[in-house]
Symmetry: C2
Subunit: 235 residues, 2 copies
């Protein structure tokens, strides 16, 4: 099996509708367009990886990358989350919090968000070419430009890094946007303020390492980074 090759679904293939990838609540918030899955995954910076350890779920944040319809995760070969992965089901969730929704009733308070949930059994990527390709995807997703700028992994570093590939076959996207959805009975004078307080993730001013030679210029791929522009997939 060529673990180096990312999966590609048919262009425009809608997202799966298996029982666990079909929303039970607020089905009107479901998105089935594969492009919306890509958009959420490409804009997020970290995912939350859920694995099963000794019969209980464990949820840990980690970086990731995407090539076509494959999501890549990496970690130390010694990490328990990586050891639990192969052959075991996992869930990878990426959440973009867009706003806090203040409503006239406490009950109608909510959050605006875009959330992608991917289910599946990941496969370990073990060949060197496949690992390099996956690590490039992760690095270019998280810190675009670093793959060409920084020293690439050597054989020892590659051997110390476990890589998992998760097919984007069973996934759901849930989106809530817009104003609060108060009941009609709560509208009208005397009611509470209602609206949305936007939440944004922003990047600050680069903080150079103190060990850099004096007057080292911050390179464009760092200084010019803009979260408003999603990092697109390399696939």
């Amino acid at each position: 099996m060529d673990t180096a090759s990312p999966t590609r679904h048919e262009s425009g293939a809608p997202l799966s509708g298996t029982p666990r990838s079909t929303l039970g609540r607020h089905r009107e918030r479901a998105r089935t367009d594969r492009a919306e899955l890509y958009a959420v995954l490409d804009e997020g910076l970290v995912c939350h990886l859920g694995v099963l350890l000794d019969g209980a779920p464990v949820v840990l944040p980690t970086c990731y990358g995407r090539l076509a319809d494959t999501l890549y995760l990496h970690g130390s070969t010694g990490a328990s989350s990586m050891r639990a992965g192969p052959g075991q089901p996992v869930c990878v969730t990426v959440t973009l919090l867009d706003g806090l929704v203040y409503a006239r009733s406490v009950f109608a308070h909510s959050a605006n968000y875009r959330c992608a949930v991917v289910h599946g059994v990941p496969r370990p990527v073990i060949d060197e070419a496949g690992k390099l390709r996956a690590l490039r995807a992760i690095v270019e997703h998280t810190t675009p430009g670093s793959w060409d700028h920084a020293r690439r992994p050597d054989r020892r570093e590659l051997a110390a890094t476990a890589v998992l590939a998760l097919d984007l076959a069973e996934a759901s996207v849930k989106v809530r946007g817009g104003p609060p959805g108060d009941a009609d009975a709560d509208l009208g004078t005397g009611s509470a303020w209602a609206g949305v307080l936007p939440v944004r993730t922003v990047l600050g001013t680069p903080e150079p390492c103190s060990l850099l030679p004096a007057a080292t210029v911050v390179p464009a791929h760092v200084a010019g980074r803009d979260t408003a522009t999603p990092v697109s997939g390399l696939g």
Copy 2:
């Protein structure tokens, strides 16, 4: 059992050191001070709840609140994540992403973050007083000031809301901060730029609901909100 009462651990009791709440990798990043657990939980806006559904982990974002040493979660009584909760182990993770760490080597690239992971079997909160207390904690954590400003839940709304309480007994906090940790061999002239690109979560300008009466003033608990000031627990 009085489900209304939040748990209180002895003041200053350090975090547990069970196998799954003891870090396997980068143990130097562990924090065992209970105050650091509170700090991460109180600053976060959403958690990622991991539950077991049909033998596989499912990870979903949700709001939460804290009173002393109890974490409260809520959801529709029809939500699968709420139905799977009682009697079943869950994991609740709150991650604050603080920065992207650019290193001289791709291998030393990392992220600065503070992450709290709580393991346990939640108990359902079923009595009305306990539910109200828990919902107040969740609302005041997510949208401080709303409990007194908005219309509180009526009996029908309370009945439609499932509340779970999770004891902060088995938890870990992991923190990475500071500059990249490149190997000595990678330091020196000709190496890549290294440093940290800060990541911040910020609140924007309130967007009033279009159905509000004209000239409605944005109240102070919304307009004056500042993410730099963590929302403290009510316990």
